[in-house]
């Protein structure tokens, strides 16, 4: 015992492999299960004991999905709302972030903390007054009723991500642009945004994902079937008439609605991770 040099035992490889396998299975399992259900023939979906692998796989549910629900409309609404909210949010956030990044004194940090505080309020607090406003303006079933709140609710995150990127740009570039007489918007457009492009993309992806996934406001403000976004559309169909819409089709709907996000994560995992943690760890 005393003779051996104190050498750290390497973590056994099988333990690591087991841990990684369990982690991946847990993270992927539920989504994978939906995908399997979506391509399983009806008779096998409701067979006991459970059939795990569909034999043979079928695309019937995906095809039928577009017949029974205004599913294209759901997808188009989500894409439209999330895209405009993302553009509006990033534009306004970039303007604010550029102003904050070079702000001297304690005001900068105070304003950033105010933003953080605002982002912590649960949306239920805002829901009813927003609903009153939307109704008074006649915006029920109009995309603008979601675009404006989505842009606002994601503003804190976007400002945090962009501000920390703009701060890292060399101060001299700013000064030079100022001396050249560029207006703030021109400076932002020609200098800040191109130089901080990776962070701009990060902010845009994060905002897009949050908007695509939002449920409470979409459920409340979009009452007409063809005005619904994909989350509210699927979830209200699912909870209202679980027994009218067969599970195969519902699973197909879930898979189609989540597919764009799966691609975003696989392509931009690093960016998403850095964006989410940047704000959180600075504070």
């Amino acid at each position: 015992m005393s003779g051996a040099p104190p050498r750290a035992a390497p973590r056994p490889a099988w333990l690591l492999a087991l841990g990684v396998t369990a982690m991946v299975a847990w993270s992927l399992g539920p989504a994978l299960w939906q995908a399997l259900t979506a391509i399983k023939p009806d008779a096998q979906i409701t067979r006991v004991p459970t059939v795990y692998l569909p034999q043979p796989p079928t695309l019937e549910h995906v095809r039928r999905l577009f017949e029974r629900l205004p599913f294209e409309a759901y997808l188009a609404n989500s894409a439209w709302v999330a895209t405009w909210a993302m553009l509006l949010c990033v534009a306004i956030a970039a303007l604010a972030a550029a102003a904050l990044a070079r702000m001297p004194g304690p005001g900068r940090l105070r304003l950033l903390l105010v933003l953080l505080f605002i982002s912590l309020f649960p949306p239920i607090l805002l829901l009813f007054p927003l609903y009153e406003g939307v109704r008074a303006l006649g915006w029920i079933n109009h995309p603008i009723a979601l675009i404006l709140p989505y842009a606002a609710l994601n503003l804190p995150l976007a400002v945090w991500v962009l501000e920390s990127a703009f701060r890292q740009l060399p101060r001299e570039i700013d000064e030079a642009a100022r001396v050249d007489g560029l207006a703030p918007i021109a400076r932002l457009w020609r200098i800040h945004l191109p130089l901080a492009m990776p962070s701009v993309v990060t902010a845009a992806i994060l905002v897009f994902i949050f908007c695509w996934n939002e449920f409470m406001l979409a459920l409340t403000f979009m009452t007409r079937h063809d005005a619904k976004t994909v989350t509210a559309g699927i979830a209200s169909v699912g909870s209202a008439s679980l027994f009218e819409i067969p599970w195969g089709q519902l699973s197909a709907a879930i898979v189609v609605a989540t597919l764009p996000l799966v691609f975003l994560v696989l392509l931009f995992e690093r960016r998403i991770a850095s964006g989410l943690t940047r704000g959180a760890l600075k504070g």
Partner: protein, 294 residues
Amino acid sequence: MTPRVWTRERMLSLLPAALLLALVVVLPIARVVALSVMRTEMDEGFRLEFAGLDPFVRLWQDGRWWTSLRNTAVFTASSVAAEMVLGIAFALLLHGSFRGRGLARAIVMLPWALPTAVMALAWSWIFNDSFGVANDLLRRLGLASEPIAWLGQGGTAMFAMVAADVWKTTPFVTLIVLAGLQAIPHEVMEAARVDGLNARQRLTRITLPLLVPSLIVALAFRMVQAYGAFDLVYVMTGGGPGGATETVSLYAYQNYFRYLDFGYGSAIATQGVLIAILLVLIVLRFTRGAGTRG
């Protein structure tokens, strides 16, 4: 000469953000607080009249409010606790080096990016009493002989909701802890190794204490979010069975759009948030104290 803080240019640049937040966040909060001391009269159309502290007396005597508060507390405490443990474990695994680590990271991130409301439906399919895969797995493992009606009983429905929430939000904790791990200088771990600390000692004496700031951040964010849970409850259980999983957010929502009692709904939402803020402040004080001592 010190640079001026509030130049005209700076104020103009901040104006759109301030305006948008005023319209969508500040004004609605003022309105909901005002509504929380109003009574909804429905005799001749809708009329709101000042009710003073009556709504708060009503809350105090409302058994359903206390139940929803307790449900929210149980949901928040169990899912946040499980997420912290699982998140730390996942982060430690992903911090190691193995083949396919990049792909594993992306897969672990995946649940975070998928819509809660939609995946709640997927989870209610997993926990379906007749055809759900949860029951089938339990039966195959020999852990249950009879199928369990997961969403049909209070305790198991809460468990199912917590499982879905843990699945969905563990990635967030993992990310923050992972960033914290990567910020620990390599030399510190090397020095500990030279000093003869074994893997377990390095974890409990060096890694975890250094992670405390990241853990506090993750804890605060997750508590607030879990406390406001709505999507999952609305879709998976609708608050049932018999109100056993109804959260504060859902109870407020029901008052707004089902009972059309706007004043009382606002009182519930406002009180709920006040309690949440208080809770987070207490936890922050508590953990920060522990962090500086440990």
